[in-house]
Amino acid sequence: MASLSEEVLLVVKKVRQRKQDGTLYLMAERIAWGPEGKDRFTVSHLYADIRCQKISPDGKSKIQLQLVLHTGESTTFHFANESSALKDRDAAKELLQQLLPKFKKKANKELEEKNRMLQEDPVLFQLYKDLVVSQVISAEEFWANRLGGINNTDPGLCDNKQEVGISGAFLADIRPQTDGCNGLRYNLTADIIESIFRTYPAVKQKYSENVPHNLTEKEFWTRFFQSHYFHRDRINTGTQDIFSECAKQDDKGLKSMVSQGVKNPLVDLLSLEDKTLDEVRFNWTDSNRTVKDSSNSAIIKRFNHHSAMVLAAGSRKGDTQVDQASETSSTDGNSRDSDFFQPPVRLQEAIEYEDLQRENGPKTVALNLKKADRYAHGPVPLQSQQYTTSQDIINSVNYIQHEMANYKPNLTQVLSSTSASSAIAALSPGGVLMQAGAQQAINQMVPPEVQGELKHLYAAAGELLRHFWACFPVNTPFLEEKLTGHLEEMLQTAYSKFHIWQTRRMMRKT
C-alpha cells in the first residue's frame, strides 16, 4: 500500500465502484478505494473536497453511498457484501458524518473566501468568468496565485473590512408609500433589514424563530410594520402581536442600561446632589412618585432607546475588545485600581485651563489661510468685486439715454445682406465654423458596451500574460510543462477569442 503510515480508521471490503469489486478505506484525512488485488487506490478524495454524502433509500435493493464533491463530481460506492451490506454502509456513513464537518469548516472557509473575493471585486469576477468559466485556465491555477497572497497576509487585516455604522434614520428611510388602493408599501432593502437586526436584536431573534417555519419573510415584515412595536407611540394593547414581547425586551434592556448606571461621575445626575444627612430634609416629598405613562413619554423613551441602540450597534465591536481587555486586566487585580484613578483624571481635565499654561505639547503646524473669506464661503465664481453705487447707475443710465438720443446709423459701413446670412449659416449648428467644436472624445464615440467588452478582453489577456511571465525563469519541470503545454495553448485561445470578437464587431459595423 502506498501510504500505510496514514491512520486507517475503517476498512470495508467488498465495495463496488464502477462495477469493480474493491476495498474502501476511511483514513484520517481522506477516503480511498482500491480495486481488489491491486495495491493502489484508484479513487481517493480528501475529506475537505467532499461536499456531502448521500445514501440510497432503505427499501432499495442496492445499498449505496454517494459522495458529492465541491467540484460537482460524484463517486458512488456499492456495498456488495450480502450479509452485512447495510451495516457496512451505515458504519461508513456514521464515520463520515463525524469526519466531514471537521474538514468542512476548512473547506468552506476557503470557498467562502473565494466567493467573497469574487463578490467584492467585480473586475476579478469578470476575469474569473472570462478565464475560468470559458475554460481558458483551470480554477486551481486561477486561484493559485491569488489566494497565495491572501493567505500569507494577516487575515485580521484584510478579512475585516471596516464595519459600517448604522444611520440614525434608517426607520425614516422606509417611509411608506400608498399604493393607490388603501394600502401602504414599505420598501425594505437588505441594508435596512441589517440595520433593524443590528439595532433591535429582539426582532432578529423573532425573525430566526418564525421565519421560515411559521411565516414567510414577507408576512414577517408585514406584521412588523403593522405591529404596535413599530408604532410605539400608540399605547400597547394587543397581546397576540408577536412583537409585544420585543417591546418588553426593549424595556427590559433600557432598564438594565439605566440600572447599570453611568461611568462618568460628571454626568451622573443621581449623585450630583449632596444633601442627605442624618435628618430627612424638610421638603420631603414622595420619592417614588410614579411617572405617568402617557404616549408622549413612550415616544421619548423610544427615541432614547433607539439612539442608544444605534450607537451601541455602531461601536459594538470596539466594546467587546475593551471588555476583553478589562477582563484580562481584572485577573491580575489591577482593574480596581484603574477604576479608582479614573475620576481624578477626568477632574483634572475639567479644571485645566490650557491657555493659562505655557504650551508644552508638540508643536503643530497651523493651516495658513491667505483668504479666510474664501474658506468660509466655499468657492464662488470669480466676479468683479467693484460695487456700483446707485449714483453710478443713474449716471450710466443717463449716459446711455444720451447716447441713444444722439444715435445715427452709419449706413455706408454696414455688411451686405448676403455675407451676413452666410456668416449666420456658418455659425449655426452644422455650419462650417461650428464643426471644430464638435470634435468628440474617443470615449464618447465608442458605445459603452464595446468599451466594456474590450476592457474584459484586455484584462483577460493581461492575466494570461501574467501567468506566462510568472513561469520565468523556468527552473522546475512543472513550470516547463506549464509553459510548453497549456500556456501556449491558452494564449492561443485568448488570441483567437479576441480575433473572433474583432471580426464580430467588424461584421456588425458593416
Binding site: G165, S167, G168, A169, A172, R175, D233, M257, V258, S259, Q260, G261, V262, P265, V267, D268, L269, L270, S271, L272, E273, D274, K275, T276, L277, D278, E279, V280, R281, F282, N283, W284, T285, D286, V291, N296, I299, I300, K301, F303, N304, S307, A308, L311, S315, P343, P344, L347, A350, I351, Y353, D355, L356, Q357, R358, T364, A366, L367, L369, A376
Partner: protein, 760 residues
C-alpha cells in the same frame, strides 16, 4: 506667577492670567478688607474658582488672625471635587515656589454615601439607605448596648475613630473625597466622621450649600465653625430657591398615613420601655424641665451658628408641661395629626397665613402655640430616649414636628396653601398642604450674621442688585466682570421669525400653534445640518417639551433630524437621563454627533457642562418663565411686592432670564471653547429681557441679530462656526485676553483692567 494685589502677595499657579481674574481678585480683596459681603459675577470658564482660592489663601497666610477659615460652598459633588483639585494645584505651586511644606489643611465634606468605606454600608445605592444603615451601627445607644451584648454589630471604622481619631488632628494637606477614604482605609477610621470632626480646625472646607443653608443639616455640621470665616457661595444664581426649599414643607395624605404609623410605633415603644426601664423616661423628664439651657448658653457666647428652626425665645424656657411626659407628647402629636387630616379633607383651595392657622388649630383642637414651638426639639429628645435605630423610618413624624415648630415660630414670610387636587387633574383627589417659605432671607440670615464675609458669586447673577434685596443683606462690593476675548467665541442670536415670517414665541397664546411648533422644528433641523458634534436644546418646561416632541414626531421632523444626528431626550427619571447624557457624550465623542433635548430648570441645565464639542450650539426654545398659575408662586410674588417693592413682572423676567442665561451659558466653558447661543423667541429682543442677561452675553448681541429668520440664523451660524474652527493659538490671545506678568504690570493694561469690573 506672583501677583501684587494692592499690597498682598498672591501666588497664582499659572504662567499667564486673564485680565478679569486680576480684576476679580482686586474686588475680592476689597471685600475681605472691609470685612463685608460681596456679590461678584464673572463668566464661567474665566477661572473664577482659582482666582478666589488664590486670593483667599494668600489672605489667610498674610493675616492669619483676620481670616481663619474659608468655607467654600458649591452645588454638586463633581463641583466640590473640582474645587479641591484646583486647590491642590495651588498648594503644589506654593510648596514649589516657597520650598517649604504647607501646614494648610483643606478638605471636602460630603454625605455618607460618598465617604463611607464600610464594606456593607457603602454598597447601598441610595443616600438614605446609607444614612439609615450607618445610624443603626453607630448610634450612641447601639454602642452602649454592645457593652452588655458583644454580638451587637457596630461599625469598626467608627469605633476606631472614636477611640483614637479625635486625639490626633488630621495631618496638613489637601483631602478630596477619595483622599479621605484612602486615609480612612489606611488608619481604619471612618472618613465621614473624621471629616466632620476635621472641618472644625481645617483652613479650608469645601462642601455643599445645604450644609450651611439647610437648618437641620447646618445644626449638625456647621454650627461650631469659626466666626472669622469667609464663606463663598459659588454658582449662587439659584441661592434664593435653595433657601426657600430648605424651609418649606409639603404634606400629603401619604405623609400623614406614615406619620400615623410612626406615632403608633412611638406609643408601643414607650409602653414597652415603661415596663422595663421607666427610669429612662424619668431622666428625660428631668432634662426637659431644665430646658434647653446648654444651647442657649452656647448661642449667647457666640459659638454657634444659630438655627432658624430653633428660635431664641424657646431656649430660655423649659419645655411646657403639656408635652413633657412621653405619653402626653404622643397624645399631643395624635391630636395635631388628626387636625391636619381634617384640614386635608377640604374640597376647595385654602390659603391662609400662619397666625390664621394657629388660631384655627387653637379653636378646633385646643393646641396652643407654645407647645407647638417645642415640637421638633421634643421629638428629637424622645427619639433619643427611645433609642430608635432607624431614624429614616421616622421621617414623616419628624417632618410634621418640624412643620409644627416652623408654623408657630414665624408669623411672617410663610404661607399655607391647601390644594385638594392638582390643577391639571381636577378629578383626582390628591390633597397637599404646602407650607411654603416666601422669604429666602430667613434661611440665610444666620449665615450673614455669623460670618465675617460672605461672597456670592456665579457666572450669571444679573441683575446684580436684586440679590441683596431678596436675600436682605448689604454688600460692600457688587461687580460684574466681562470676559475679555481675543476672538468673539460666543455668538448669541435671537431668532424671532420662521422662514414664513411667523413670529416665534413660547408665550401661552401661541404655544400650541402649529406654525410655531413647525418653525421650531425647522430651526432645529437646519441647525442639526450645520452644527458639528453636539447640540443642546432647552425647552421651557417638561410638559411643553413632551408636546413638541410628539408633534415633531407626527410631522416627521424628528426623522429628518435623525439623518443628521442622534436624538437624546431628558426624562423625568434621573437615572434614565444620566444614561441618555452619557450616550449623548459618547455620540459626540465618536463623531456621529447628537442632539440633547432638555428642560430649563431641569437637572441637566443646572449641573452639567457641555464643554467644547459636547455643545457647539445651545438653542433655547422660548423664555423659561416659571409656571405662573402656581399658587405658591403667586403668594411669593405678592410677598416680594409688599416686602421688597419688587414688581411681579420684574421678578418673573429676572427669574426667566437667569435660567435662560444658565442654559445658554452651559456651552461656553472657557476662552478656547466656542459656541452658538440661539434664543428662539422674539421676546428676547425686547430691552427689558435683553437687559437682564449677563453683561458678558449682552455685549455680543448686535442690533443686527435681534429678529432673525431661521434662514438668516443658519447663514450666520455657518459663518461663525467656520471662523471659530480655525486654529486658535496662545499668541492670538496674549496681550488681549491673556497676560504675562510684565504685561499685567504695564500702566496701560492696569487702566484697561479697571474698566472690566462693572460696578453697580
Amino acid at each position: 506667577m506672583k501677583l501684587n494685589i494692592e499690597g498682598l502677595l498672591v501666588y497664582f499657579p499659572y504662567d499667564y492670567i486673564y485680565p478679569e481674574q486680576y480684576s476679580y481678585m482686586l474686588e475680592l480683596k476689597r471685600t475681605l478688607d472691609a470685612k463685608g459681603h460681596g456679590v461678584l459675577e464673572m463668566p464661567s470658564g474665566t477661572g473664577k474658582t482659582i482666582s478666589l482660592l488664590s486670593l483667599i489663601v494668600a489672605y489667610q497666610r498674610a493675616f492669619p488672625l483676620e481670616v481663619t477659615k474659608l468655607i467654600y460652598c458649591s452645588r454638586t459633588v463633581p463641583e466640590i471635587e473640582k474645587v479641591v483639585e484646583e486647590l491642590r494645584k495651588l498648594m503644589e505651586f506654593y510648596s514649589k515656589e516657597t520650598g517649604e511644606t504647607n501646614n494648610f489643611l483643606a478638605l471636602a465634606l460630603s454625605s455618607r454615601k460618598n465617604l463611607c468605606i464600610h464594606p456593607e454600608v457603602s454598597s447601598l445605592r441610595f443616600g438614605k439607605e446609607v444614612d439609615g444603615k450607618c445610624h443603626s451601627l453607630t448610634a450612641s445607644y447601639i454602642r452602649a448596648q454592645r457593652h452588655s451584648n458583644p454580638n451587637q454589630p457596630v461599625c469598626r471604622f467608627y469605633e476606631e475613630f472614636d477611640a483614637v481619631g479625635r486625639q490626633v488632628p488630621l495631618p496638613a494637606g489637601i483631602y478630596n473625597l477619595d483622599d479621605l477614604k484612602d486615609f480612612g482605609r489606611r488608619k481604619g477610621w471612618c472618613p465621614y466622621y473624621l471629616a466632620r470632626y476635621a472641618i472644625l480646625h481645617a483652613n479650608i472646607v469645601v462642601y455643599s450649600y445645604h450644609y450651611l443653608l439647610d437648618p437641620k443639616i447646618a445644626d449638625l455640621v456647621s454650627k461650631e465653625l469659626a466666626k472669622k470665616s469667609v464663606v463663598v457661595f459659588d454658582e449662587a444664581h439659584n441661592i434664593d430657591n435653595v433657601c426657600i426649599d430648605s424651609m418649606s414643607v409639603n404634606i400629603t395624605r401619604r405623609t400623614l398615613d406614615r406619620c400615623q404609623n410612626n406615632v403608633d410605633t412611638l406609643q408601643n415603644t414607650i409602653q414597652k420601655i415603661k415596663e422595663t426601664d421607666a427610669a429612662k423616661l424619668r431622666e428625660e423628664y428631668r432634662r426637659l424641665v431644665d430646658g434647653l439651657k446648654e444651647a442657649s448658653v452656647a448661642r449667647e457666647t457666640d459659638i454657634y451658628l444659630s438655627n432658624p428652626v430653633l428660635p431664641d425665645e424657646i431656649l430660655q424656657e423649659a419645655v411646657p408641661g403639656t408635652i413633657r411626659t412621653a405619653e402626653h407628647f404622643v397624645g399631643f402629636l395624635r391630636r395635631f395629626l388628626e387636625y391636619l387630616k381634617s384640614r386635608l379633607r377640604v374640597q376647595h383651595v385654602v390659603q391662609e397665613s400662619t397666625p390664621q392657622f394657629l388660631k384655627d388649630i387653637f379653636d378646633k383642637v385646643c393646641i396652643d402655640r407654645k407647645p407647638l414651638r417645642f415640637c421638633a426639639e421634643r421629638l428629637q429628645s424622645l427619639l433619643r430616649t427611645l433609642e430608635i435605630a432607624d431614624i429614616a423610618d421616622f421621617s414623616a413624624v419628624t417632618l410634621i414636628s418640624n412643620f409644627a415648630t416652623l408654623v408657630s415660630t414665624y408669623s411672617q414670610g410663610f404661607t399655607i396653601i391647601i390644594e385638594p387636587f392638582e390643577d391639571r387633574t381636577p378629578t383626582i383627589a390628591n390633597p397637599v398642604l404646602h407650607f411654603s417659605c416666601m422669604d429666602p432671607s430667613i434661611a440665610i440670615k444666620p449665615v450673614f450674621q455669623r460670618f465675617q464675609s460672605v461672597v456670592i458669586t456665579s457666572g450669571t447673577l444679573s441683575p446684580l442688585d436684586i440679590y441683596p434685596r431678596i436675600l436682605d443683606f448689604r454688600p460692600v462690593t457688587m461687580a460684574s466682570f466681562t470676559m475679555t476675548l481675543a476672538r468673539t467665541c460666543l455668538c448669541p442670536l435671537i431668532v424671532g421669525r420662521g422662514n414664513d415670517q411667523v413670529a416665534l414665541s413660547s408665550k401661552f397664546e401661541t404655544r400650541e400653534d402649529f406654525a410655531v411648533i413647525r418653525n421650531y422644528g425647522n430651526l432645529l433641523l437646519e441647525m442639526s445640518a450645520v452644527v458639528p458634534d453636539g447640540i443642546v436644546a432647552f425647552f421651557t418646561s417638561y410638559v411643553y417639551m413632551e408636546n413638541i416632541v410628539a408633534s415633531w414626531y407626527e410631522q416627521g421632523i424628528l426623522e429628518n433630524i435623525q439623518r443628521n444626528k442622534l436624538i437624546f431626550i431628558e426624562t423625568q427619571d434621573a437615572a434614565e437621563t444620566s444614561m441618555a447624557l452619557e450616550k449623548y457624550q459618547e455620540a459626540c465623542e465618536n463623531g456621529r454627533g447628537a442632539i440633547l433635548l432638555s428642560v430649563a430648570r431641569g437637572k441637566v441645565s443646572e449641573g452639567i457642562d457641555f464643554v467644547h464639542h459636547f455643545g457647539r450650539a445651545v438653542i433655547m426654545f422660548g423664555v423659561p418663565y416659571v409656571y405662573t398659575q402656581s399658587r405658591i408662586l403667586k403668594a411669593r410674588l405678592e410677598y416680594l411686592r409688599d416686602q421688597f417693592q419688587i414688581r411681579e413682572n420684574d421678578f418673573l423676567t429676572f427669574d426667566a432670564m437667569r435660567h435662560a442665561a444658565q442654559c445658554v451659558g452651559r456651552a461656553i466653558r472657557g476662552k478656547t471653547d466656542y459656541g452658538l447661543m440661539i434664543f428662539a423667541d422674539k421676546r428676547y429682543a425686547r430691552a427689558d429681557k435683553r437687559g437682564k442677561l449677563p453683561r458678558w452675553i449682552q455685549e455680543h448681541i448686535t442690533d443686527g441679530s435681534l429678529n432673525l429668520t431661521v434662514d438668516e440664523t443658519v447663514q450666520l451660524s455657518k459663518h461663525f462656526l467656520r471662523q471659530m474652527a480655525q486654529p486658535f493659538r496662545q499668541e492670538d490671545q496674549l496681550g488681549l485676553s491673556l497676560l504675562t506678568l510684565e504685561q499685567l504690570q504695564s500702566e496701560e493694561m492696569l487702566k484697561k483692567i479697571t474698566q472690566i469690573a462693572h460696578q453697580t
